[in-house]
């Protein structure tokens, strides 16, 4: 049986990708960001998940508004990393497991999630910005990705509650897959930022930290907020935090926050958090003690 072994919330700011590609990992203004991902990469290297299941958004790159889905699951053995106007990056195509992707899709549609499906299409910074900070890519990525794109650009967006329920259904879908795959669920985007209109540059660290606490311990409360609430509290583009709610929905009731990094450099509160289910964390600790 496939199972979820943990969760990650991460920003997906495109300039993270630019800084990564330019090798600015040690640059004093970028180091607090890149340092903050090292424990996450280490955690993944130890846990060795087979699959990262991403709740992310495409930024009108692969998906244009002439046909715009609420939820879109990607199917493919390879997804190129998208050209978003500045040319291609030097990263290998993202890998996929078609049978697992198809299973998740079938399970979700049968549970009345009305997914769209895309095949083999490019994936933009919604995944590609944080991915190389999480996983090595030489000679190739160590595992496969299930990309689930969520509309956070064109209103009506799926409600916060719907995203949370999507995550819950994804957990059931994962656990109904017979092969023994280890899956980490990842929600990308946020935290506070607004990057359009006169309100550009809005941030709210107090709300960001409150969001992280509530997400971990009382996620249902966050499902009651409207999109306008998210926009008011965290800025227009912070509404993409509903993708963190989808990730949270796929995890158990009681979570241990294993690591957190929060760095507000210019306009986006760049954040990464890893979670394990408390039972799992306790069991792991116990195993370690037994070995010692």
């Amino acid at each position: 049986m496939a199972r979820i072994i943990g969760g990650i919330g991460t920003s997906h700011v495109p300039t993270i990708g630019v800084a990564y590609d330019k090798g600015r990992q040690e640059d004093p203004v970028w180091a607090p960001l890149f340092e903050g991902y090292k424990p996450v990469a280490k955690w993944l290297a130890e846990k060795q998940p087979d699959v990262l299941l991403f709740f992310y958004n495409d930024h009108a790159t692969t998906l244009f508004f002439d046909l715009y889905p609420t939820f879109a699951l990607g199917v493919g053995e390879r997804f190129p990393i998208a050209d978003e106007g500045a040319g291609l990056r030097g990263l290998p195509d993202i890998r996929g497991d078609v049978d697992f992707q198809a299973h998740i899709g079938e399970a979700l549609v049968n549970e009345e999630f009305d997914l769209a499906f895309f095949q083999n299409k490019p994936i933009d910074h919604g995944i590609a910005s944080p991915l190389p900070l999480l996983w090595p890519h030489e000679p190739d990525w160590p595992g496969t990705v299930v990309p689930i794109a969520i509309n956070v650009l064109q209103y009506p967006l799926p409600t916060a509650r719907r995203c949370y329920r999507l995550g819950q259904a994804v957990r059931r879908a994962v656990e109904s897959y017979p092969e023994d795959l280890k899956v980490v669920v990842v929600g990308t985007g946020g935290l506070s930022h607004q990057i359009h209109g006169e309100r550009t540059g809005f941030n709210n660290t107090e709300w960001d930290l409150d969001f992280l606490e509530t997400l971990r311990d009382e996620p249902e409360r966050l499902t009651q907020l409207t999109h306008a609430d998210y926009v008011r509290l965290g800025g227009a583009e912070s509404v993409e935090q509903i993708m963190w709610l989808a990730m949270r929905g796929a995890l158990g009731a009681s979570l241990e926050e294993m690591h957190r990094n929060y760095y507000l450099m210019t306009t986006t509160a760049m954040t990464v958090v890893t979670y394990e289910e408390r039972e799992t964390a306790a069991a792991a600790q116990q195993r370690e003690q037994e070995v010692a």
Binding site: P14, T15, V29, H59, A60, T61, F64, F65, D66, Y68, A82, D83, E84, G85, A86, G87, L153, Q154, Y155, P156, L157, T159, Q194, I195, H196, G197, E198, R199, T200, G201, T226, H227, A228, V231, R232, A236, E237, L264, M265, T266, T267
Partner: protein, 120 residues
């Protein structure tokens, strides 16, 4: 407009809801910017801006906004920022520079409002 999506009631000032109606009204304008993910479209724009706009079917108001590099006006007209930022790459503006313009500030003024003002 007869109805209002309850999820978008009470949006703060200086924020523009890109919804189905806006999208329908400004589909060609959004597509013009979206096309910039393709190298050929970037080259066509560099080669002849006016011809590229005409080929994309922009109306006079839209063409004027592009000519004026009126970033805020383009957003207010109903362009989603995420297609607009593709064009920012083409005209060699960083996102931070565009942010400053939308706020009506010089780049240096804007950066002074940031947590790490010397970040780039």
């Amino acid at each position: 407009m007869f109805t209002q999506n309850p999820q978008t009631v009470a949006m703060p000032e200086g924020t523009y809801v890109f919804d189905l109606r806006t999208c329908n009204r400004r589909l060609a304008f959004n597509r013009f910017f979206w096309n910039m993910i393709r190298p050929e479209a970037r080259q066509a724009f560099w080669d002849d801006e006016e011809a590229a706009m005409r080929a994309a079917g922009l109306d006079d108001e839209e063409m004027a906004l592009v000519r004026a590099r009126d970033w805020l006006g383009i957003v207010q007209a109903g362009v989603n920022f995420f297609v607009l930022e593709k064009w920012a790459r083409v005209v060699r503006k960083t996102n931070l520079e565009v942010y400053a313009i939308m706020r009506g500030e010089s780049f240096e003024e804007f950066m002074q409002t940031r947590a790490v003002p010397h970040a780039r």
